[in-house]
Amino acid sequence: MTADLTKLTIAEARDALAAKDFTALELTDAHLAAIERASALNAFITGTADQARVMAKASDARRAAGQVGALEGIPLAIKDLFCTDGVLTTAASHILDGFKPPYDSTVTAQLWQAGAVMLGKTNLDEFAMGSSNETSFYGNVVNPWRQYGSNSALTPGGSSGGSATAVAARLAMGATGTDTGGSIRQPASFTGIVGLKPTYGRVSRWGIVAFASSLDQAGPMTRTVRDAAIMLGAMSGFDPKDSTSADLPVPDFEAVLDQDLKGVRIGVPDEYRVDDMPEEIEQLWQQGIIWLKEAGAEIKSISLPRTKYALPVYYIVAPAEASSNLSRYVGVRYGLRVEEDGDDYNKMYERTRGQGFGAEVRRRVLIGTYVLSAGYYDAYYLKAQKIRRLISDDFKRVYQDVDAILTPATPSAAFALGDRIDDPLSMYLNDVFTVPGNLSGIPGISVPVAKTEAGLPLGLQVLGPAFDEEIVFKVGHALERAAGFNEAPDDWWSDAS
């Protein structure tokens, strides 16, 4: 019986727990067992099995006492970028060796408040910098999906690759992710799950290791749109500890899912056809348009003319903020310290940061330092901020005519590990469809809708106006229903472990 429990969605488990079909502890144990068999995927940096069982028992006790939160007894995986009280938090970086924060992030605290159970901390690209999960100090994550007839290991995408894999491989019912340039939506697309980046300010950033503060946003990664709506409800809300958090009420996201799309205007941006995009992604996009039309939506061709500037702007703004955010990791107060006899503080900083940060993080810190330097600030950072505003204006303008936008989630399906890690520019192109949403702060969801001919999942992206996650959920849910994609990858990893 326990093997089946991992196949349930959060919504299904919620009902079954309420019906006392099984306990939270049984549900948690089923997932802990699955995690134990899946070490070949390397989805977790830290397992928290003991804590998970304690939390699950406490959840059962609460349920017995009639206290039932929105995620009561639901076992979740937490991206290891969220600080968790007393539990190793690494950001997948050597430099945070041994760091156990004495606090929970606002998001995780809210999840525990809602009754959720923590299974463990998932692997990611170091400091969330990467699109393939290969920059992790703890080794790459492996995508549970493989091409038909192939045993080659594929990337799950990144940076939330561990979370995506955990959810896709049925190791967790849902997971937290963070999305700075596509880090929820791209791995969701690569692993055939749902990933939502909320509006900037919807979810508190307090207690999440910062990458690029003006872009970072936490969101849910689940197997269904409904599960994402349930999870986001528990994650979001105003937090006075985050000055960029929006003081707005949290809607009942789940309530809008089944509303029909009559009168909903969907924009299809011409600029999201990029060079070398596989034909099957173009076809999938067209299929999505047809599905939404059939669901009653009105399709409109729109133009987002500044789209082509989004990636260059992103790769100035994000590294600039990162170079400053990562200045606190110097080995003085916590984490790794590398020093030799006779070192002054400068020497100790150099050794610690030189050895503590991986190549991609060092690259971005250097880029960020450069674009903020005297003499270059105006030409790079300031100009990028101006263009960022224009990109945002593009969206504001089209949202006067459409309610949501449909695009592919990624310009390709999952690629082989090792394929692009030595070619940063081609790696950065992964985020071409997701980055504009981060730069504008608007919400976006990646919904799995089909498989490629080679057997790999692909997602479509729905973008909505700021603080209108409801339209995103509604359209996403319609796509999900129409596509009827509910496949799981074949379990090859349990034998491999």
Binding site: A91, W206, K241, R333, Y334
Partner: protein, 488 residues
């Protein structure tokens, strides 16, 4: 003749003009830090007043402390300055162990307060305005402690994140006297406003001193910046030393390096702090964790409505309404606590008499007892009570000094001290007459001398009466009665 012309320094090759600008770091009076809830109290054990935000743990975010914003606006209004309803917090990036974040949150291009002015009073009785360039808010850094272990340094983060106001003047002072007058006046204004305690010895006010010299009428010369000067006297020493050093260099055909200096109080000289190769590129950019600060007109006006009377206005009122001299008014308003005390003791009384007592005997008592006007044993109303007893003739001025001493000893009110010590002035004519009779009987030869024309002996007789009453006899009454009796 402008002020600047007065202060030329005569060099070997002609006159030089000294130009001074100051950047004053004033610690904001507030219970908690600029972006965290940790306490700001001075003198706590190391690292006991440090929040997760101050220690820059991963994922921590700054949240603006509105009290600090209020204090900055209040200060801006007190400096008669432009208040900027829109301002921006920036990150100033550099690595140093006392800076946990690796950046200081400060304000760079859009400070909360713009141009203003401070009126300084100079020793020759003249006054002039010194132009303020801006005031911005920023975080203080921590403190490195080097002497606990021979080869390791330690860091105390208690100070980390405390709000500072950096108050920047234009290069608008032309002598060390003017700079000293500015710092004193600024400190007085901050204390009146209650926005900074101005205690330089505790580091809650410190100055970066910018000095340059030029030939009269020429462009500004290259300036040096001496950092973290923590007394007004030291600031003046820096200015005088730097002026003469720079003139000497220039007159020898050399040039001044734009550099950062440290002042050594032991030698009274400055030395270079860091070389140009180490010059920082701070990579300022708007802090993405904080939204731009927008203040409503109402917020600013509410603060304006609660501004106290400031030293200049107070001084005018003391002179015009209370009839005090410019000197007395100036002395009283230079110390906010003294002014408050004076007003408490002078209310409904003769202000000049009150001023004389406050600045004279009362101040002397304070300094003898190592007290100050903020929290003296004898309160302002109690001094007022003493003045009342003088005014209604209960005690003489001379006795009053003893009464004040008694008040300081016991903390009791003046009338109680007079009662307890039996110092009440004797104006009872019958009692005094009886004493006079006794004295005349005992000293017939003196009576004779007086009556034969030696009228100055009246003083001797008054003295006798005073001796018999231990000074309590009303001298006026005694005098009148004596003249009557002696006249026979």
């Amino acid at each position: 003749m402008s002020n600047s012309e007065k202060n030329y320094i005569e060099g070997a090759t002609g006159p030089w003009e000294l130009v001074v600008g100051l950047e004053v770091h004033a610690q904001v009076t507030s219970k908690s830090k600029l972006f965290s809830g940790a306490s700001t109290a001075f003198g706590a054990a190391p690292n006991t007043q440090v929040s997760l935000v101050d220690a820059a743990l991963p994922g921590m975010l700054p949240v603006i402390n509105e009290k600090c914003i209020e204090q900055a606006v209040r200060t801006g209004l007190g400096l008669r300055a432009q208040i900027n309803a829109y301002s921006v917090f920036d990150r100033k990036n550099y690595f140093y162990p006392d800076l946990p974040q690796g950046y200081q949150i400060s304000q760079y291009k859009n400070p909360i307060v713009g141009e203003g002015a401070v009126t300084i009073d100079l020793e020759d009785g003249s006054s002039r305005d010194v132009a303020i360039e801006r005031l911005h808010l920023e975080q203080d850094a921590g403190k490195l402690v080097h002497d606990l272990q021979p080869r390791k340094s330690h860091v105390d983060l208690n100070r980390t994140g405390i709000a500072l106001m950096e108050i920047v003047t234009k290069p608008d002072m032309y002598s060390s006297e003017e700079a000293g007058a500015f710092l004193r006046k600024l400190r007085t204004i901050l204390r009146f406003l209650g926005t900074c305690d101005g205690n330089m010895e505790q580091g809650s006010m410190r100055a970066d001193v910018n000095v340059s010299v030029r030939r009269p009428g020429e462009e500004f010369g290259t300036r040096t910046e001496t950092k973290n000067v923590n007394s007004i006297r030291f600031a003046q020493q820096v200015i005088d030393y730097e002026a003469h050093r720079q003139i000497e260099v220039l007159e020898d055909g050399g040039s001044i390096d734009q550099e950062t200096l440290l002042f050594d109080p032991d030698t009274g000289t400055t030395r270079s702090m860091r070389s140009k190769e180490e010059a920082h590129d701070y990579r300022y950019f708007p802090c993405p964790d904080l939204l731009p600060l927008k203040m409503s007109e109402e917020f600013i006006e509410n603060i304006r409505a609660t501004l106290p009377e400031l030293p200049d206005a107070k001084k005018d009122r003391y002179m015009n309404d209370l009839g005090l001299s410019a000197y007395d008014a100036g002395v009283l308003v230079a110390d906010r606590d003294m002014a408050v005390f004076f007003e408490g003791s002078a209310a409904g009384r003769d202000a000049k008499v009150a001023a004389n007592w406050v600045m004279g005997d009362f101040l002397a008592q304070l300094s003898r007892r190592d007290q100050n006007f903020a929290n003296p044993t004898v309160r302002a109303e109690q001094l007022g009570g003493l003045l009342d007893l003088i005014a209604d003739g209960t005690i003489s001025n001379r006795i009053a000094k003893d009464v004040l001493d008694g008040m300081f000893e016991t903390g009791h009110d003046a009338d109680r001290v007079v009662e307890e010590k039996g110092l009440k002035q004797v104006s009872d004519t019958g009692a005094i007459e009886a004493m006079i009779d006794e004295i005349m009987v005992a000293n017939p030869e003196k009576v004779e001398e007086f009556r034969s024309g030696k009228e100055q002996l009246i003083g001797w007789f008054v003295g006798q009466v005073m001796q018999k009453t231990q000074g309590k006899a009303n001298p006026k009454v005694a005098n009148e009665l004596l003249r009557g009796k002696l006249a026979g």
